[in-house]
């Protein structure tokens, strides 16, 4: 008996492997689709360890592996419906994307020592609602990979910039091209670990005329998600669950002597800004809008020779 008690299993200790910035998924209150690590301290190295997740407090009614949860750590045995190993004190698992908020699960660890004595302990886990949120940021004056590391409201980001250079200034040989200016916005998601999508619209504060020749969306690794020509609105779908943000490159045709106060808005009315579990953007409003001003390019006209 003493041996049994010697095989003490301490309480669950922390651990969270996700990297969201706000209202994170917690290992005891995870979001659907979240991945967390669960461990118990003081598990003797040579003992047999068996892990599983149950829906009942006695551990007898097991949750469905592959649907309710999936072990990331290797060692799952389908026959016994548990992760089996020696001295495995820590496991990582991913909660199902469709598990219902409010549902309780129990992460069980059974430890058996060389004498055949068994201890059993579990941690209660409650799935919580994600309250998916999407937000837009102007990162036009950030550079390169910094698009992904700039926090919201970074004062180093300029809210207004000059137009980019004229591309082909020769105005009397048919090839004149006033050029275009690239604006860069970052769209982030919060409170969800699922795949997601968003709908956007570009507009000008005073309804001034402007032309958008291209909108390109890339993931944090600079891989293309979608490229759309000559449109000011669009729905960007299929953003992988691993991406907490995407970068949106907007190409706006230059104009002479025009101030453009451009808005990049995430739209919620059509329910197209949501995660793959169907959670709609909470529509908080202010964080769905990013703005950038293109300053006026000075006029050159009235050219003559005498």
């Amino acid at each position: 008996m003493k041996n049994i008690y010697k095989i003490l299993i301490a309480l669950v200790v922390l651990v969270s492997s996700v990297e969201l910035t706000k209202a994170q998924s917690h290992y005891l209150t995870p979001w659907p689709g979240a991945t967390h690590t669960y461990n118990f301290a003081d598990v003797a190295g040579g003992n047999v360890t068996n892990w599983w997740v149950a829906t009942s407090t006695d551990g007898l009614t097991k949750a469905v592996h592959g649907t309710d949860y999936t072990f990331v750590t290797a060692g799952y045995d389908g026959t016994d419906d548990r992760l089996e190993g020696i001295g495995v004190a820590s496991v990582q698992l991913t909660w199902g994307a469709s598990v219902s908020p409010g549902t309780d699960y129990y992460v069980f660890l059974e430890v058996k020592d060389a004498s055949g004595c068994i201890n059993l302990k579990a941690g209660k886990v409650t799935i919580v609602n994600t309250v998916f949120n999407a937000l837009a940021l102007d990162v036009t004056t950030a550079t390169g990979n910094a698009y992904g590391t700039i926090p919201s409201g970074d004062p180093s980001l300029l809210a207004s910039t000059c137009p980019d250079d004229v591309v082909s200034p020769v105005s009397n040989d048919g090839g004149y091209d006033i050029g275009s200016t690239q604006l860069v916005f970052r769209v982030e998601r919060e409170n969800s670990m699922n795949g997601w999508q968003f709908e956007y619209e570009l507009s000008e504060d005073a309804d001034k005329a402007f032309a958008v020749t291209n909108v390109t969306v890339k993931d944090p690794a600079d891989a293309l998600i979608v490229s759309q020509d000559n449109t000011k609105t669009g729905v960007v779908t299929g953003i992988a669950s691993v991406n907490n943000y995407v970068v949106v490159y907007v190409t706006v045709t230059n104009q002479q002597d025009v101030v453009l106060d451009l808005d990049f808005d995430l739209l919620t009315a059509g329910n197209n800004t949501k995660d793959s579990a169907g959670a709609i953007d909470n529509g908080a409003g202010a964080d769905d809008k990013a703005q950038h001003q293109i300053k006026p390019m000075p006029v050159i006209n009235g050219f003559s020779g005498s």
């Binding site: 000059c162 137009p163 250079d165 004229v166 200034p169 020769v170 105005s171 009397n172 040989d173 004149y176 002479q256 002597d257 300053k295 006026p296 390019m297 000075p298 006029v299 050159i300 006209n301 009235g302 050219f303 003559s304 020779g305 005498s306």
Partner: protein, 238 residues
């Protein structure tokens, strides 16, 4: 046969259209060598600095040589204007970068072709008149950009220097030629009702409105003969 006729007619139209296009192609962007032209854009109070340059390539990164190709002279009080003297045949890009008080820059460029091909000749190399008490005479000139293409109206008036020679005596004169009538008014001719006189008129130099040099063609000498009036006996009336 009818189809052939149609084709011929169409071809004729095409040729005419191409000719017109070619003729109009010189426009204001063809410059006669040695022209010195003031270029300007509308002054803009929002602009802080104007930067004029002339490049020799479409990438606008090879500047024309100031001594041999193109000389730029700024104009005091008019930063929105520049004097350009075109010194060598070729294609150039006059470029203006204007930077506003807000720090933003605009750029425009204009392609120019500098040519030394224009020529001037007399339309006719001889003419004659009777001594009729009117000394005035004007000869029609023909100025061409190149063979068969008239020099553009924007190059006029031309300043034509010429010499009038008679009996070993030469005098120098100068006159303007307007685009409309192409007439070179000749001075230095004096009628003589008693003797035939033959004047030789020779163009020595021609410049465009901008100082561009017009080459002298093969027929720059015009012979003007003034015939004496026939002799008559004195009429006696009784």
């Amino acid at each position: 046969m009818q189809i052939n006729t149609v084709y011929k007619t169409l071809m004729t139209f095409v040729i005419i259209i191409l000719s017109l296009a070619s003729a109009s192609g010189q426009g204001a962007y063809t410059v006669v060598l040695n022209s010195k032209i003031k270029y300007e854009v509308t002054a803009n109070a929002d602009v802080q600095t104007y930067e004029w340059k002339v490049y020799t390539n479409t990438d606008l990164d090879l500047e024309a040589d100031a001594l041999t190709e193109c000389s730029l002279t700024t104009i005091a009080g008019e930063p929105n204007a520049i004097h350009v003297e075109w010194l060598k045949d070729g294609t150039y890009y006059l470029t203006l970068s204007a930077t506003g008080l807000n720090g933003c820059t605009n750029k425009k460029a204009w392609k120019y072709t500098v040519v030394s091909t224009p020529t001037i000749v007399f339309q006719d190399i001889t003419s004659s008149d009777c001594a009729d008490g009117v000394d005035e005479f004007a000869a029609i000139t023909v100025a061409e950009l190149s063979a068969g293409i008239a020099l553009a109206a924007s190059q006029y008036p031309l300043t034509v220097d010429y010499q009038v020679t008679i009996g070993g005596t030469t005098t120098n004169h100068s006159a303007n030629v307007a685009y409309g009538d192409q007439l070179l008014k000749i001075e230095g001719i004096t009628e003589d009702i008693s003797n035939d006189k033959t004047y030789t008129i020779k163009i020595t130099e021609t410049k465009t409105k901008f100082g561009g040099v017009i080459q002298l063609g093969s027929e720059i000498t015009h012979t003007r003969t003034i015939y004496a009036l026939p002799t008559m006996s004195t009429i006696n009336i009784k």
